[in-house]
Amino acid sequence: MTVGGRASVVPLALAASACSYQHYQSTFGNAATEARQFNILFVIFLVICAIMYLAVIAFLVASIARRRRAGEANTVEEGRHHESNPLMRTALISWGAVVGSGLVALAIASFIADRSMASAAANEKLSITVTGNQWWWDVQYNAGDNSKMVRTANEIHLPVGVPVRIYLKSNDVIHSFWVPSLAGKQDLIPGRDTDITVVPRKVGIYRGQCAEFCGAEHAKMALVVDVDSYRDFIKWWQHQLQPAPAPATPLAKAGYAFVTSRNCSVCHAIAGTPASGTVGPDLTHFASRRTIAAGAMPMSEGNLYGWVEDPQSIKPGSKMPTIGLEPNELHAVVAYLETLK
């Protein structure tokens, strides 16, 4: 993966960014200071290690080629009483010195990168608390007074250029918050408070996934990070503070009735409605999100129908049960959910 190759990948990805939500989940995304420092350090390590590797292979090839010309003397006595000549001894010492100094250089480069990352993130302006649950992310924007606190799930919007500190908690097992294009991962451990600091540099949609095995649906515990311009972010924030819009069409009203009285309200919360369960993700602005079920599928009507009708066939083992809805109830619920922009 030469540097050149990597450069060509970046524009290609950007071009495809507009439509598909699986936009970009790779360390080459270079979308934040931390990711950029990772790439610089990674290239340094790669170059030095490649040099060391070529040295070993050169030595190997040379020693294979050297003796082959001297024929295949098979006699046993040949191998006895071989004093190692002093040249080899100095070669050994210099080899040790080269390896040692190479490693010291790499260690120092690593400490410098580590130091600069920590200092870049010293004065964070935005603070978010992400709580890991079995197989979805509960996101909460901390703000001065509670009226400004935004609660969402499986999706994070970040203003570009603004350092943000994400506090990580877990309600059950150990998860690991990792958005490759932005920064390194950090575990969410029950009983311990960890945090991660990101300074996004490039607008775009970036996908992340849980990186610590956390049970049946570890593979489908993803989240999407939307880096917006500052203006868009503020617009998004204001919109998130609004309660859920009241349903207009009769079908949506029937859906509202079902959602707030039946199973959904026990686990999910929708601001501005009696549904206030905290067991499942917050659905206040569900339809404005890009994915359903923690990144399992892109948001679309067809997928929404599939998910609400039988979540167990999409995420078997997920905590969301298959309610066995009647067709009319299903249409009503989906219609109402689509109004939650």
Partner: protein
């Protein structure tokens, strides 16, 4: 006993162990939904006046009774649905205690499931429209484990929480009670 007969005994014992073990660990996260809401006609109430012979056990019982994943899900639901509010951790409070062997409405898993689904007088709400049948049966399986009825191997010793009760794995096992009211 001829050696052949003894061998067959051993085989049956092993098969029983195997069958028991298999069911205990089976995770029923069924991909295809079974259209099983509670049957249209309300299930007849499970209290039999005059202590007559209790009805046959509901076929779903063997999916949930003694099934470790079901009991574990029931344990999480028990806290998430705030059953702790009235029943605390099984010791009882506003609601009756679930750890003893006093069952006003029957201690069998299908009877407990009906109590949860239908609700009971004196404050037990009906959960049929709030929880799916699968969840109700999981809760019933966990409630039975609170009073020590399922086998010790299926229950968990503690939750990832403040230690609130002596471990179920050390509690003595209780025989399943059909319905106490009949005996009083």
């Amino acid at each position: 006993m001829s050696s052949r007969c003894r061998a067959s005994f051993a085989f049956i014992a092993v098969a029983a162990l195997v069958a028991g073990a298999c069911n205990r660990e089976e995770r029923h996260s069924r991909a295809k939904p079974i259209g099983e809401t509670v049957p249209a006609g309300e299930s007849p109430d499970t209290i039999w006046p005059g202590g007559t012979v209790p009805q046959t056990l509901d076929p779903r019982a063997k999916l949930y009774d003694n099934n470790a994943p079901a009991i574990s899900q029931g344990q999480q639901l028990f806290t998430q649905m705030n059953c702790v509010g009235c029943h605390s951790h099984g010791g009882g409070g506003m609601g009756p205690a679930l750890m003893d062997d006093e069952w006003r409405y029957g201690g069998r898993i299908d009877q407990i499931a009906t109590s949860i689904a239908e609700g009971r007088p004196n404050g037990m709400p009906s959960w049929r429209s709030k929880l799916t049948t699968d969840q109700i049966w999981q809760l019933a399986a966990y409630v039975r484990s609170l009073s020590g009825q399922p086998s010790k191997d299926a229950v968990s010793s503690r939750a990832e929480a403040m230690s609130n009760a002596t471990p179920q794995t050390l509690a003595p096992r209780e025989p399943a009670h059909t319905s106490d009211t009949a005996e009083q």
